[in-house]
């Protein structure tokens, strides 16, 4: 806990991303200066970050997620380049273990021919796992180091777990959603996709006197199907975010105890250890769940209802 903060300030500080964005003309900054023109800058308070609106970037979230994704890609592509079909050694056995695990999981749920799905599952599993893994690093270490040793401003916002930022998890979910729609249209055609949204679950009458009810049923179908379709990426993104956010929150609360004397500190250390051990399960499970659900959604996109 940085000196002179209340617990609330400490928690809020830890939950604020490093936001780089555009502040409008005439905006009064934290130190009272008024901007004479629209400026791109780092937010210095939570209020500033909020006022930046949509035109802002969480540099820490993007930085860490790109760094961790690149780490995954670097390790795996290096192994892939050197891989031989002889007896696998060291890191290659581990990489192959992960690959075959993902491969069999994807094969269990996805039965169509698409060479994109399994690599996507691998990327999601490893990437999300690495991003979640940052949660196990004690909450103060990296932010404290960056704020004091690198930037030289103890008030600097810096979050290390990208998956505790809804932008990151929803961003990935949006990626999955785009692919879902893409494969749906690719497999069933645009007409087939629209039919799927409007002709299920109640198939409208196509002849007879009740044909006047068809537009009504199509509307009802569309409302139902649209909600269930759009709920998929939102639930996918928010599930991951919620789990990791809650986990990080508990780490922060435990970290508060370190500033409250020796006995509390010791107790906090024990709690921290216990929660970290439990969290190993959570981060792996959430990465796995994200991968499996993505695969399931892709399989649903390939399912053709007209064939039944």
């Amino acid at each position: 806990m940085a000196g002179g903060q209340t617990s609330t300030e400490y928690i809020q500080h830890h939950l604020q991303n490093w936001t780089y964005g555009k502040l409008p003309v005439g905006y009064t900054r934290y130190d009272g200066t008024v901007l004479t023109e629209a400026t791109w800058t780092s937010a210095h308070t939570a209020q500033e970050a909020k006022d930046m609106g949509f035109h802002a970037v969480h540099v820490d979230t993007l930085g860490w997620s790109i760094f961790l994704g690149a780490l995954f890609i670097f390790i795996f592509s290096r192994i892939a380049k050197k891989a031989t079909s002889d007896t696998p050694k060291g890191l290659q056995s581990f990489v192959e273990l992960v690959v075959s695990f993902v491969d069999s999981t994807v094969k269990d749920t996805f039965h169509y021919r698409n060479r994109m799905i399994a690599p996507m599952g691998l990327t999601i599993f490893c990437w999300v796992f690495l991003m979640n893994f940052m949660d196990l690093i004690p909450v103060d270490w990296i932010p404290y180091f960056v704020a004091n040793a690198v930037v030289g401003d103890s008030h600097f916002f810096f979050k290390v777990v990208p998956t505790t930022d809804p932008n990151a998890t929803l961003g990935m979910a949006v990626g999955v959603f785009i692919l879902m729609i893409f494969f749906s249209v690719q497999q069933k055609g645009l007409i087939g996709f629209i039919k799927e949204l409007t002709f299920h679950p109640f198939s409208p009458p196509t002849k007879g006197a009740f044909i006047v009810l068809a537009p009504l049923m199509i509307t009802i179908n569309f409302i139902l199907e649209f909600v269930s379709l759009s709920a998929k990426p939102i639930s996918l993104g928010l599930r991951l975010f919620g789990n990791l956010y809650a986990g990080e929150m508990i780490f922060i609360l435990i970290a508060l105890m370190f500033g409250a004397g020796f006995v509390f500190g010791l107790f906090g250390g024990v709690l921290q250890w216990g929660w970290a051990v439990f969290h190993i399960l959570v981060i792996t499970l959430q990465a796995f769940v994200f991968m499996v659900l993505t695969t399931v959604y892709m399989a649903m996109a390939h399912d053709n209802h007209d064939e039944h």
Partner: protein, 156 residues
């Protein structure tokens, strides 16, 4: 916790990583793993085949050993037979030789005896005449009495 451009950035990052993984990482790793799977399957098959071959070779070797033993026994038997035959032949030859020698010896003895008899006959005639001369104390004409004496000698 505000939703902002980060979301779009993350989506783009997501696509880039998925594309890279699908293009460069996944095919190489899966290829290697499938290749190894095939290698192992081939190896197992080869081992099975080798096992079968070994069994076959064992069988063949046993058969050959048995055949060789049989042949050896046959050869020994033949050799024994031949040895007996040779001994028998030698015996027969020796016997024949002995018989021949005995016959020859007998013939010689007979010849010798006959010669002795002839000699004796000649001597007996002379002796008889000399004896008769003495008995008659007179000169007998050898020419006139020769037939008589010869008749006497042949009766000996």
């Amino acid at each position: 916790m505000n939703i902002n451009l980060t979301l779009i950035g993350q989506t783009i990052t997501f696509f880039v990583f998925v594309w890279f993984c699908a293009k460069f990482v996944w095919p190489a790793l899966i290829g290697v793993m499938q290749e190894r799977e095939k290698k192992i399957a081939d190896g197992l098959q080869a081992a099975e085949r080798a096992d079968k071959d070994l069994e076959l070779a064992h069988k063949k070797a046993g058969e050959q050993l048995r055949e060789a033993k049989e042949q050896a026994a046959e050869i020994i038997e033949q050799a024994n037979k031949r040895a007996t035959q040779i001994v028998d032949e030698a015996k027969d030859q020796a016997k024949a030789e002995a018989d021949r020698l005995i016959t020859a010896a007998k013939a010689e003895i007979e010849q010798e005896a006959n010669r002795a008899k002839e000699e004796l006959r000649g001597s007996v005639a002379t002796l008889a005449i000399a004896g008769a001369e003495k008995i008659l104390e007179q000169e007998i004409d050898p020419k006139s009495h020769n037939d008589l004496v010869s008749k006497l000698a042949s009766q000996l």
